[in-house]
Structures are given as structure tokens and as C-alpha cells.
């Protein structure tokens, strides 16, 4: 189950962060997202030879914690997407698929002429779309 997704701007400013848990652990999840940003920077500045293809937008598993797995994605425009999940057995293809759909939703949201670039995304349509994508995560890769 996905517990948290976040969009972080190129100056590490939060653009959108949403948790999907019943419990009151938003702060903990925000902390996990926050600490993952350093891992993203490290990944980008010192690309591993054996890792995913050079300069691919999908950064793969950033780091596992006791209960969570954190995945990252960095667009060409230096916007970071972070995904926190409790699933222990996650297929790479599912995560890639998730990020692809999430990126499409993000692009549509920032193409709104009333959206100010670099400011938080406040859009119900975007929030609804994100929760649909989150709900369908891992169900099937039909899309």
C-alpha cells in the first residue's frame, strides 16, 4: 500500500505532499520524504555504473527503512517525485508505471494557466487523480 506521495521542486521546495494512512503519522512520513531528498541528490551526482541507465528519470529504490520502501523519480525539469510504500514485495514495473501516470497528472496540473510555477499545487482535480492512481497501484499493469 502506498502511504505517501510527494512532489518536490527544483530548489527542494515542497509542491505537493499527501499521505494515505488512517493513523496520525503525517509528520513521520514527511520526515522520510525529507531525508530521501539527500539520497536523490547523491544518486544524481554520483551515478552508479551498474545502476539504472544513465540519466533515466526513474531513480529506483532510494532506501529501505524498517517499515517502508522509498522510491524516487527526477524529471528533466529537476522536479522530484517521491513514493513511500509499505509493500515489501514491489515490482519495479509497477513503480515505473505509477510514476509515469503520476508525471502525466503533474504535467496536466502545472499546465493550468492559473497555476503559478514553483508554488504549491492546489487542485482538486490533481488530488483526485493522484488518489485514483494510488488506489490502483500494483493491482495490474494493464494501463
Amino acid at each position: 500500500m502506498i502511504v505517501c506521495v510527494a512532489v518536490v521542486g527544483h530548489q527542494n521546495n515542497p509542491l505537493y505532499i499527501q499521505s494515505f494512512t488512517e493513523a496520525d503519522d503525517a509528520l513521520k512520513l514527511h520526515h522520510i520524504v525529507h531525508s530521501s531528498l539527500d539520497v536523490v541528490d547523491e544518486r544524481v551526482n554520483n551515478p552508479r555504473k551498474s545502476g539504472p541507465t544513465l540519466n533515466e528519470t526513474f531513480l529506483g529504490l532510494l532506501y529501505p527503512t524498517e517499515n517502508y520502501k522509498v522510491y524516487g523519480y527526477l524529471t528533466n525539469t529537476k522536479v522530484k517525485f517521491i513514493l513511500v510504500t509499505t509493500d515489501l514485495d514491489v515490482r519495479d514495473a509497477d513503480v515505473r508505471n505509477f510514476f509515469r501516470r503520476f508525471h502525466a497528472a503533474y504535467v496536466d496540473a502545472v499546465s493550468n494557466p492559473f497555476h503559478v510555477p514553483g508554488k504549491k499545487i492546489i487542485s482538486r482535480t490533481f488530488a483526485d487523480r493522484v488518489s485514483t492512481i494510488v488506489k490502483s497501484f500494483g493491482l495490474s499493469s494493464a494501463d
Binding site: L54, E56, N76, S111
Partner: protein, 172 residues
């Protein structure tokens, strides 16, 4: 699945935008009008670059990003690529389009451009009007590049129409 817009609509919109800004909002301040039109282009380029770089590996250097502008970005906008790309390898790039789409429907006579005659002033005005129409595409290029993390200044040169050159100077 991309949505498309009629070309004539875009042409009319661009012409109307330029006239409105030059003759109504900032009638006596062409440089202010130019800045506003450029800013609109900037926002458009900013948003388009986000969309067109989806599902594409990140660019490793400036040249790769400029090549993206010349090839894929230009194809999406104008259904053709930039015809010629020159660079001095020190941050200046010249993108030359031999037949720039947004100028082809402006009725300027390119043959009279260089002649010296008493009507020189009105032709000068023609070139001025044409250059007003170029602030928008300049803004698009600047917006796209700055969203890709490359701050730059873009200007346009139309000394021999319908050829059009965009000069990109990357800020160090």
C-alpha cells in the same frame, strides 16, 4: 494522445495579441509591450517543456538540451526541425529556421527590405512590426530552457526574411 490546435487560430491569436499589446495596452511604450509578450511566451515555453520532456532521459549538458529544442520541441510546435544550429562552444547558440511559420503569413515584402528610398521609414516600421511578433517565440525558447535549468537570453534576427535566426546566450 496530444490535442491539436488549428494553425490559423494560432496565427490570428498571435497577431491579435501583438496588436493589442502594442496599440492598446502600451501604445507608446513598445519596449514594455515587448516585455509583456515575451513574458507570456516564457510561461508557455515553461509549461510546454514540462510536457514534451516526459518519458525522456535527463539531459547531461547544455548542447543536449539545445538539440532537444531544435528537434523535438520545434517539431511539436512547428512540425519541422530547426534547419541549422551554430555554436561558438562558449554559451552562444544560433538556431536558424529557413522558413519560420509564424512569419510566413505576415505580408511584408522581403525584396524592398534593403532598398534605400523615400519610403524607407514605412518599411522600417514593417520590420519593427515583424520583430514584435518574434518576442513570443523568443519567450517560448527562454521559458523552455530555463525550466530545464539553463538560464539564458534569447533574441531574434530577421535580416533576411522569411529566414529567422534565434540567438541564445546562456548565462554563466
Amino acid at each position: 494522445m496530444g490535442r491539436e490546435v488549428s494553425e490559423s487560430c494560432i496565427d490570428s491569436l498571435l497577431t491579435e495579441m501583438v496588436t493589442t499589446y502594442c496599440n492598446r495596452f502600451y501604445a507608446n511604450k513598445p519596449e514594455l509591450a515587448a516585455r509583456r509578450i515575451e513574458a507570456i511566451g516564457f510561461q508557455v515555453g515553461h509549461q510546454l517543456s514540462e510536457r514534451y520532456t516526459m518519458e525522456r532521459p535527463r539531459f547531461s549538458d547544455h548542447l543536449e538540451a539545445i538539440k532537444f529544442i531544435c528537434k523535438d520541441f520545434w517539431s511539436e510546435l512547428f512540425k519541422k526541425q530547426i534547419d541549422n544550429l551554430k555554436t561558438n562552444h562558449r554559451g552562444t547558440f544560433v538556431l536558424q529556421d529557413n522558413r519560420f511559420r509564424w512569419l510566413t503569413h505576415l505580408s511584408l515584402d522581403p525584396t524592398t527590405e534593403n532598398t534605400e528610398d523615400p519610403n524607407g521609414r514605412s518599411e522600417n516600421k514593417g520590420a519593427q512590426v515583424a520583430s514584435m511578433h518574434l518576442y513570443f517565440p523568443c519567450g517560448i525558447i527562454r521559458g523552455a530552457l530555463s525550466n530545464l535549468g539553463i538560464p539564458c537570453a534569447v533574441s531574434a534576427d530577421i535580416s533576411n526574411l522569411p529566414q529567422c535566426s534565434f540567438v541564445i546566450r546562456i548565462k554563466a
